[in-house]
């Protein structure tokens, strides 16, 4: 989930001012594009082709029989009609949006607080916490979710045991997944826990860019810690915040493995997010065309959510 941050610097040529470019020999002008080619080829191969297949599938009837024949039947927009006319789809969409809002909000707030803490700590403690964060970050979701699921286990989980030992008898053999709100609280905790390190470390790196003189001047003028954060740190780090929030939205909008694993690969319908809904329709019900259409609708919904951010970012770029 986190490895998508390694991105080629695809926008580089646009940064070369037009005036300077004209003086360059024609042969030179081609070389940046040539250098881009390998990266472009890889992106087209690993992203472009699957994307094309996905779009094509979404306009087809593609079930088990078609899978065996390895040829779908074109049905135009039927899959999309089925989805948009399905009450369950709208419920799942609403749930996904709410889940994304809560997890992204918590991730950003907690991540920022941890970054601010890191900035104030001595070297040893900072190193200790950073190590902890990196460990969390580097743990594959399958491993960490399994450990979480042991911790919240009904029979033998340490969480129930600990709470019961503290005298909260309600939690002796408490089933965390009967009530979807409690279930989602556990899932939110897992997702936020896994998402914090990236946010915290990035913001901490950004904080080192905030000049000490400015902060000092503000505090001499009588500004409190919150005021300094709001009027100095926040504006300077705004681009970082915007991109972190947008990336978090994209990642959390498609949370899959956390729910899938903790519900033993058989999530109840009230734990369906769009990603799971799409997977279940595709792989469990063997309706691959419909599942692809759901996936595409999910991406479109995600684009709507992130559109605001993208527009804002383009604007920031223009002012620059």
């Amino acid at each position: 989930m986190k490895d998508e941050t390694a991105v080629p610097l695809a926008v580089e040529p646009a940064l070369v001012p037009a005036r300077r470019r004209r003086r360059v020999r024609p042969g030179r002008a081609v070389s940046p594009y040539l250098l881009l080619l390998p990266a472009l080829a890889v992106i087209v191969a690993v992203l472009g082709y699957p994307l094309y297949r996905l779009v094509a599938l979404s306009f087809q009837e593609y079930g088990l029989a078609e899978l065996i024949a390895r040829e779908g039947r074109w049905i135009g927009l039927d899959n999309y009609e089925t989805i948009l006319g399905d009450r369950r789809f709208w419920t799942v969409l609403g749930r996904t949006v709410a889940f994304t809002a809560v997890t992204v909000g918590l991730t950003m707030v907690l991540g920022t607080l941890i970054a601010l803490l890191l900035a104030r700590l001595g070297t040893f403690m900072r190193l200790l916490i950073t190590t902890g964060l990196v460990l969390v970050w580097s743990m594959p979701p399958v491993v960490s979710v399994n450990i979480w699921s042991w911790m919240v286990d009904y029979e033998f989980g340490v969480l129930n045991w600990g709470l019961a030992e503290l005298g909260l008898d309600y939690f002796a053999r408490h089933d965390w997944f009967v009530n979807p709100i409690e279930g989602f609280a556990v899932i939110t905790a897992i997702v936020v826990w896994g998402a914090i390190p990236f946010v915290a470390i990035t913001i901490f790196a950004g904080l080192t860019q905030v000049s000490g003189e400015m902060v000092e001047a503000a505090s001499i003028d009588g500004a409190g810690a919150f005021r300094i954060f709001r009027d100095i740190t926040l504006p300077i780090l705004k681009p970082i915040f915007v991109i972190l929030a947008s990336l978090s939205v994209i990642w959390n909008f498609q949370v899959f493995s956390q729910i899938w694993i903790i519900r033993n690969a058989r999530p109840e319908e009230h734990y369906f997010l769009l990603s799971i809904y799409s997977f279940v329709e595709s792989f469990n019900a063997s309706r691959y065309g419909l599942g692809s259409a759901i996936a595409l609708v999910m991406v479109l919904a995600m684009l709507c959510v992130t559109f605001v951010y993208i527009r804002q970012m383009v604007r920031i770029g223009e002012i620059d």
Partner: protein, 433 residues
């Protein structure tokens, strides 16, 4: 700042990745088909309970086909269908595959399996009729019966004795009375974790037995269409009787099932008086590696009693079939391995070692003569099976029954609404093209 211009590009790529991976979340890597090797997919049950039958089949197969290697890969019930479909689209995959008997009609009907010749297989004249029916479609055989299982009540004889239960229950009322006694003797304030009968909320095989016992059913055909019938009065009486047992005498997880955690192992831990289980779960509870061997001699079994005196509650006739996928390039060899695996000798191994019901009625005496197997063979006299339509597998995949059952336990007052919702969903799925 470079970052500002670079940011939109990051987002575009991130979204593209999201789209491209959206449905590919867990594509399995297809098994490699080697020209001189046979790939066999069996469930982990074979590995745990009758590995010697697998070894014997492979050995006798190899003696007839020297140079052909047999590669047995053990799968899990949770994702084997997803993996199998991934190999279908790649055009490669196993040469032999085990299917649950409720899953196999979907694949026979879709043309995913190659037709087989009944006379090529041992004991085919005396195969269990339920499994033969599951493995056939439009009069042709697509999957060979492998083994069957019937569920009974597996119980602690010492606890029954201590609670003053002298005879095994013969009716559902007696069963409930016995459980009440057990709860009084071992449960309540003494041990709040104690279950007189351990009954996880999503254990639908056992829960649906109540529905069939009260004359209800999951779905029926009406005018050529399927109609979900869980909300009909008889089915509701069954669900109510089940709810009473699960809520009053069980402290099992409402959202757990019979395999999460393995109920035999919870039973082995001690705070359980009984559970509804398959024959092979009895030896599993005594397994020194995961269970508790000290319980040997303290375990018994009896058929689950019906609410009608003199009958047993119908048990789900579970089981497995073995098939040759249409994508196999060595269909004749694959069929030959199945024949070797299902011969009389290996079936005897499975029945005695694994405690399952063998695929042929000619071996019924093995089970009837062993006290650890007889109760389950006896229970199989009354049985029920899921609606026979290729679409049934999709009802299972959508977790319709499980969602309804854990919903009822959480919210007993809404039993009727939840059953109606489940019926509607079943109607929708079974009638889908």
């Amino acid at each position: 700042m470079r970052l500002r211009l670079f940011a939109p590009a990051v987002l575009v790529v991130a979204i593209a990745i999201a789209a491209a991976t959206a449905t590919g979340a867990s594509q399995a890597s297809p098994a490699k088909a080697q020209a001189d090797a046979l790939t066999v997919w069996l469930m982990g049950d074979a590995q745990a309970n009758w590995p010697e039958a697998v070894a014997a089949a492979t050995q006798s197969f190899k003696s007839r086909h020297p140079g052909v290697d047999v590669n047995v890969q053990y799968q899990s019930w949770g994702d084997y269908k997803t993996k199998f479909e991934a190999t279908l689209s790649a055009g490669s995959g196993p040469d032999v595959i085990e299917f649950g008997n409720t899953d196999v009609p979907k694949y026979s009907a879709a043309g995913a399996l190659s037709p087989l010749n009944r006379s090529d297989f041992p004991n085919s004249g005396t195969w269990l009729s339920g499994l033969t029916k599951a493995g056939s479609y439009n009069g042709r055989l697509f999957a060979v019966p492998y083994y069957a299982g019937a569920r009974g009540v597996i119980y602690r004889t010492d606890q029954y004795k201590a609670a003053g239960i002298t005879k095994v229950p013969k009716t559902l009322a007696e069963f409930n009375a016995a459980n009440a006694k057990l709860m009084k003797r071992f449960g309540g304030a003494k041990n709040r974790n104690y279950s007189a009968v351990y009954f996880p909320g999503r254990y639908w095989y056992a829960a649906m037995s109540f529905v069939y016992d009260y004359g209800g059913q999951i779905a029926k055909t009406k005018g050529g269409k399927w109609v979900g019938t869980l909300h009909e009065p008889k089915a509701l009486s069954g669900l109510t009787a089940w709810r009473n047992v699960a809520r009053s005498y069980s402290r099992a997880n409402k959202t757990g099932d019979e395999a999460h955690p393995q109920q035999a192992l919870v039973f082995a831990k001690g705070s359980v008086g009984s559970f509804v289980g398959n024959g092979w779960e009895w030896p599993y509870a005594l397994d020194p590696k995961v269970g508790n061997p000290a319980l040997a001699g303290k375990i018994g079994a009896y058929p689950m009693p019906s609410h009608t005196p003199g009958k047993y509650m119908p048990t789900f006739l579970g089981g497995s079939n073995l098939a040759v996928p249409i994508t196999s390039k060595q269909k004749a060899l694959a069929a030959d391995w199945i024949a070797a695996f299902t011969n009389t000798q290996n079936m005897t191994r499975m029945a005695t070692g694994g405690g399952v019901i063998p695929n042929t009625t000619s071996l019924a005496r093995i089970n009837a003569s062993k006290p650890t197997l007889a109760p389950f063979a006896e229970a199989a006299k009354y049985s029920w099976f899921v609606p026979s339509t290729p679409n049934w597998a999709n009802v299972e995949s959508a977790n319709v029954l499980q969602t309804m059952l854990s919903g009822i336990l959480r919210n007993p007052a809404k039993t009727k609404e939840l059953a109606t919702a489940a019926s509607e969903r079943i109607t929708e799925i079974l009638n889908a093209r």
